[in-house]
Symmetry: C2
Subunit: 254 residues, 2 copies
Amino acid sequence: MGTLPGRLYLVPAPLDHGCAVQVPLSDSLPAGTLAVAARLDHWVCENAKSLRSLLKRVDALHPLGQPLQTQHIQELPREVHKKGDHHGQFDARPLLAPLTAGHDMGLASEAGMPAVADPGSSVVKAAHELGAEVIPLPGPVSVLLALAASGLNGQNFAFVGYLPQDPAERTRRLRELESLALKTGQTQLFIETPYRNAAIWASLLQTLQHNTRLSVASGLTLPGALCRTLTAKAWKPLPCPVDNSTPAVFGIGR
Amino acid sequence: MGTLPGRLYLVPAPLDHGCAVQVPLSDSLPAGTLAVAARLDHWVCENAKSLRSLLKRVDALHPLGQPLQTQHIQELPREVHKKGDHHGQFDARPLLAPLTAGHDMGLASEAGMPAVADPGSSVVKAAHELGAEVIPLPGPVSVLLALAASGLNGQNFAFVGYLPQDPAERTRRLRELESLALKTGQTQLFIETPYRNAAIWASLLQTLQHNTRLSVASGLTLPGALCRTLTAKAWKPLPCPVDNSTPAVFGIGR
């Protein structure tokens, strides 16, 4: 229970953002999540256009409580979602003013769960600072689906975001992550902007030890999803499994 | 695409296992996930009784393709789910023989996503070794809901499982996790068996620095859910927020 009249709901989005094919919303989001999304009319989001497009899809299954045109939608500032929302420097409390006025609010990113491998944590932090109740709704989380489907250790794992762009630094970082995974058994997960997929893949195969297990997942919950785990040695003779257009989650484990 | 005719589906379960109150399945599981669960009739699970009880609830929404009595249900050996399924020593390939015969199979744990903070990774590993396609289905994952709702850094985080039981070792481990969180900004998440909640809470408040942020979540997706993040200093004068009967997820961040 919070001390403010309004509650902050974390509303997950399907993982087909920016994809040619859309999947049925009901494949990714529980009816309960859809019902809450349809009822909310005050939002903070990564991108207003993407949120409106999501709400149109929700409306087709659960009619929205308020027409889209009258919804109160605020975007996170561009620098928060471009530079990462984890430095704790952005004060999101003003965005949450509607909570004080008794409105429930939704927080949404473009794909998956807000504040997990995605911006939004500054908004949740602000909600706690204000004493508001925070309610996360179930839905797809690409990093977690990738972890579960990898067969790598899911009882001790880390998600470390993006790797360095400089090739030498990237190799150094990969060595560090591999060493951690082999020594402690902690699975190391990371993502990359799609157009660097081929470069990161080459780095991985050059850097990892033969017996290190390497997983790659992309397009989970979508048609043609990829999810495969092999040793670095077994991957070597195979073509790069991801093209430069699809976001992928990579994992390293022993 | 796999090279075996059968596919392995990872089927999430709601988070109300063992709770007095059950929530509607449609609040936690997408219709698409329910439809696949209803269609499958070959299973590997943490606990057969819990799986049957879940399938009865699925049947009420999506009639099962095969009566419960004729479903082919195999349990993971007790030592795999008691001692943790992340040592890579258990060969689960024999459990997956139905894949070779062309049956799709489901993998389920008692609550949440199999193979994430729960046993099952040996089975997924075996599926990859056999060349089977692995398909993770969306649903609730307590650790991830807790992370999203904490407002702690969700762009760099680790889940480290259970803490040591010995008080001195536990304190040492907490110091290590706090130091990592403060130095690198990587949120550190862990769980505890419920009857140790009060002990771990006392350790946390004794060990953590004043300004370290500490989150606690329990009962997410259920009535009366708890999810709160404060500095260690702000927690000190408050009563322990979790009792000794509810599983909780703890998080440390800067």
